[in-house]
Symmetry: C2
């Protein structure tokens, strides 16, 4: 089992029984999503913004327009952190302070560099689009060199990371456990509804397999 | 219509046609969730972590154990930013770079202070729990003074804020719009599944109205 070394930066201090440093488990959290929160410094103020990402091995990729203030700032900061979180449930306890959520969350630390090679940028943008919906890139109009040149692609090598997973019921004080108060978990899930066709789409263009497959694996079961 | 003033800090530079500063619309985004991402400085490194929050007027409240490293750090930073985001759909375009998401996101800036008055702390913790699931607090075992004393409650006055909402289909290059490539939107929703009772709960304790109501308003329609 490959693990990230614990350091002052990534070591989880609260709820240490829920902390993990296992590379495969952290990658599983990253691969279950495509939106991350990137923290960066803007003129001494800390800003945390959502961005889409793709993962290849121990690298995380962000992209945006070459004029994107945030990405340009990020590149200047160099050291950043990225967090991905999935909400899995509301944990309703018998007292207020034991309310919690079930979740999977990973925080990554590393340095950023700009990727300039056009072939590399193309492979990365494929990864970012396919992270959102697998199999999409192959069906698209091919990207042009001009588009590649105008797009800023940023690579973060994950130097250290930690994750936390909570996946259990309410944990009340012993003295509260037999109170006549309803306790339990409300499972939360992110689901997809039926895909909506673009209004310009000719009628003979059927929904492709990758879209239907996405819907089938992400629709609600209930 | 009350608006936050635009400044260097909160002014949206990219996608300005999607930016808004309207207080009511920003509050609606905040009230649709209870998990925010807080960016803060830890020894010169920027970290962005998920926390639960409650809103009362123009104040956002965070809480945690009095030993919570993050909250103590946050209080030292004083100036922080908080972001709340709801993912509403995958936007699948005919070319890679026009892929996007539909979303509602708000970013808040302000100063933090600790709340020390116990009565005030109690009212705030009620707000935080009810932000997660409305009507919950009234049914709980009352909070004790010891619990209130051991809990760190932090108040952020929203000094400025901005939001972005994207809620439309794919916007392709004109020359791509009639290509034989499926385009459209896959709607994404966060839904709840049927609540799971705690295994210690006596059989005669029925699911209370506030839990059933939460489920009925958050379950999947499809």
């Amino acid at each position: 089992m490959e693990e990230f070394k614990k350091s002052e930066l990534n070591e989880v201090k609260r709820g240490i029984n829920r902390a993990l440093y296992d590379v495969d488990k952290i990658n599983a959290i990253l691969d279950a999503g495509f939106i991350c929160f990137v923290g960066y410094n803007y003129n001494g103020k800390v800003i945390s913004l959502p961005m889409s990402y793709g993962r290849i091995g121990n690298k995380i990729y962000l992209h945006g327009s070459g004029k994107n203030r945030m990405l340009l700032n990020l590149l200047e900061c160099k050291d950043v952190s990225i967090t991905v979180m999935h909400l899995d449930g509301l944990v309703l306890a018998r007292s207020g302070l034991h309310h919690s959520v079930n979740y999977r969350s990973a925080t990554l630390f590393g340095k950023l560099v700009e990727v300039e090679n056009l072939k590399e940028k193309e492979a990365i943008l494929k990864c970012v689009v396919d992270q959102m919906i697998n199999g999409r890139w192959e069906e698209l109009r091919p990207i042009t060199n001009l588009e590649l040149k105008r797009t800023l692609v940023v690579e973060m090598t994950i130097e250290t990371a930690s994750a936390k997973i909570r996946n259990e019921g309410a944990i009340d004080e012993k003295r509260d456990r037999h109170l006549p108060i309803w306790a339990g978990v409300i499972p939360i899930k992110q689901v997809s509804e039926y895909p909506l066709r673009d209004h310009l789409l000719p009628e003979d263009i059927k929904m492709p397999d990758h879209v239907l497959e996405y819907y089938n694996t992400h629709k609600s079961n209930s």
